[in-house]
Amino acid sequence: MLTPEQKKQFNEIFDHLSKSLNISKERYDQAVASYQFVGDWLARPESALAPYKPEILPQGSFIFGTMIEPVDECDDLDIDLVCRLTGKNDSWTQYHLKKIVGDRLKDHGTFKRMLDKEGRRCWTLLHRDQARFHMDILPAIINEEYFVILEKAMSANRQQDFETAAIRITDKLTHNYSSSTNPDEWLKSNPFGLAAWFKLRASLALQKAMSLNEAIQPVPDNETNKLPLQCVVQILKRHRDILFKGDEQKPISIIITVLSARAYKGETDVLDALISIVNTMENFIEERYDRASGKNVKWISNPVNPEENFADKWPAEPAKQEKFFKWLECVKKDVNQVITQKGLHNIQTAMAKSFGERTVNNVFSKIGENAKAQRDGGVMKMAASTGVLGSSGRAHVGYHNNFGK
């Protein structure tokens, strides 16, 4: 059992871990500048999209605030973006919308070179230079009403309100891809509803709930004061990345994120949240009968669209399901391993195995620097009978030029 002081110290350690997982400010700023530049280009007066006020907004981990640095610094960051259009030309089908966005990108020499082959729903821009990220751009029709509905859903925190909000996207595999000009017949998606839902869950730790404007920002905050749920998702994603490296069948981020958010009960510190989430996230995986296969399948529903199963790939690729449960067992064991160590160096060893040597060394460097700053600032004290150092205690740790030789 951990004492309250030990818990407090573990919280500091996990808090530093989450901070060390944040993508660097430099890379973050580059990413934001890049997608804003794409947005500006699409919206210029000469663009065929200009009348529909195109705007680029981040979605996914970027807007959840759960983005992490890849284990290998040289690996690409994925940034998921929505290209939001308010309305469209009446004659456009999904095919037209997708093509017009693609053509506009191709009008720009640099984007043309960066453009990957066309995806099912997205256009992908690859930054092959030192920036090392790629952007998936999802063309979508979003009417003004969408954000009004979300705003209402958010302030009332009513599940069914989230479910009524939807944007319309293009999907090459739909039967009406090049025939239907009515967006109501196109595939629905609700990325901002999901983001708003996630932020509401995260803000359970706060006294007051978040507003839609705080939840969905065109340029979300990168590092300032992450909430415990956001820290836990970052930590869990990193654990997955270390365990599976480049394995294509590793648990996908959205599954980890949504299950964590469902399991989160508003714990105000990272350690409590982490322990409770890893121990209960499994309970939020449902079993549903699948008519097509006549079998029960695992179901991880999209909170803003219960008919969407984030685990829909599992029946066809059972390895994905196995790897999810393997990961979950492993993360439970590894977290327990970390919190039962004594000695910062032993804690470091246990953490390095699960979260990466370089990142964890950074965590303990920060801790060492903070201890020195505390002593230099004259606020470090030593507790009687144990010798424990900290901000409270009986003896001040005075200045000395420690340490000699």
Partner: protein, 150 residues
Amino acid sequence: MKKRISLIHQAGALRSYFPSSNITRKGERELIWVGELTPTPLSDTYKIKLHFLDGEFIRINVLAPVLRLAPTATGLPHVYSTEKQELCLYYPKDNEWDPSMYYVRTLIPWASEWLYHYEVWLATGGVWHGGGIDHNGNEETKQQVAALLN
């Protein structure tokens, strides 16, 4: 000359701070304190010996456990002896410590702090974050030493 604190008072302060520690005193000539320090709530606990012999020395040793070395290190940082685990806690030429100071307010918190940074040293693959003066260090630290001596 500052007045030396009587060993009776040093012993009294040690007993007050660390009631379960062992203190041996021979008049005003010698004092040995053996106690335990846990530098942070999550740290290991270390058995420490402080030994004062009037006119001769004051030594702080880690009695247990045997301390480990960072992978690339050949010795412990900031010690007089790695083998004896004898800590170097202040810069002697700068008069940072003298017998007019209570152990419980100086050497013992400094020892705890050394242990804190020892754990961080191991946890960072051998980077010392505790500051201080390295006699075998680079030009910058030599200049710092020179500045202190002037």
